[in-house]
Amino acid sequence: MFALPPPRHMPCDSCGESLRAETAAQHVCDDERRHRYDLFPVRHEVELFENELSAWLDSPTGRFEQYDAERRRRPR
């Protein structure tokens, strides 16, 4: 079976950063980058959720819920 040689760079499986083969073993993922990489496959769902949340927060019910939450958060 013909096997393709690995390229000189490959992305890290955990954070997607391009790593040179010779130094890949020393790589430590950046937390923020890994978080972004993890969220990327669900970015459309996240965007949809954020849009729906914004719309709800702008609705009369959402505005009341924000007012009520703020009122209950304040110390009596």
């Binding site: 096997a3 393709l4 040689p5 690995p6 390229p7 000189r8 760079h9 490959m10 992305p11 890290c12 499986d13 955990s14 997607g16 950063e17 391009s18 790593l19 040179r20 083969a21 890949a24 073993a25 790589h27 972004r36 990489y37 990327f40 496959p41």
Partner: protein, 237 residues
């Protein structure tokens, strides 16, 4: 600061040149690059020859003149005592340097900084580009579409030139590009993976613009990095 040294030697120009080729040239070809020699030109004059040597620095010129091997070669040539004049170089323009500058601007400003408005300035209307991956593309519009295709597929594109070699109006470029795959490319859905690819191309320059360019890049490596083609063991887990 570059300097131009002008050395005048009196005598029969043809005999002087023949002696120079037999004695000085082999040593100069070996030593000049060590001391920052850029070019050497010999011209015929009414009473002999002038040798115009371009150096990266004044210090390099003096170190070359003081080199024992060079002094031996001058003695072996039997040349009469030459007269030297040194000049500070204000600008150097050559076709090869101009061609390199255009490739640098395309990499730094167009590909990396995304200044697509410079394409009209750097790409000739009659431009033809070819590559096995991207086919044939024509003129500034074709080049712009090529850049836009990769910029829409990769964010944060950086193109770095590794090597540039120019001769006459041709320039050979070896580059490395990096970017994060955040848009569709060749039917491959975005992966957020970062890819690094190398490539090279030969381009021809006329009147300060690219008129043709023929390139290859590691498309297989790019597809492996994007997970579209198997690539053996992962780099990191």
């Amino acid at each position: 600061m570059a300097v131009l040294s002008v050395m005048s030697i009196q005598g029969n120009p043809d005999e002087l040149l023949a002696r120079m080729e037999a004695t000085l040239d082999p040593v100069a070809a070996r030593k000049a690059p060590q001391y920052g020699g850029i070019s050497s030109t010999v011209v015929r004059t009414d009473d002999g020859i002038k040798i115009l040597n371009l150096w990266e620095t004044e210090e390099g010129r003096h170190r070359m003149a003081d080199d024992p091997d060079v002094q031996d070669a001058i003695r072996a040539s039997g040349f009469p005592e030459p007269s030297f004049t040194g000049y500070e170089v204000l600008t150097i323009r050559s076709g090869a340097e101009g061609a390199k500058a255009i490739e640098r601007r395309i990499a730094d400003e167009v590909w990396t900084k995304g200044k697509l408005d410079l394409i009209e300035e750097l790409i000739a209307p009659e431009f033809v580009g070819t590559s096995p991956t991207d086919g044939e593309f024509h003129g500034p519009d074709g080049f712009r579409q090529l850049v836009e295709r990769y910029h829409s597929a990769f964010s944060g594109v950086e193109m770095r030139i590794e090597r540039l070699v120019a001769e006459g109006d041709w320039v050979a470029t070896n580059w490395t590009a990096r970017g994060t795959h955040t848009g569709e490319l060749m039917g491959i859905a975005p992966t957020s993976r970062e890819a690094t690819v190398t490539g090279m191309q030969f381009s021809r320059v006329r009147d300060g613009k690219l008129v043709e360019s023929h390139g290859l890049f590691d498309a297989l490596g790019m597809l492996q990095q994007l997970g579209a083609v198997p690539a053996g063991a992962p780099a990191h887990a």
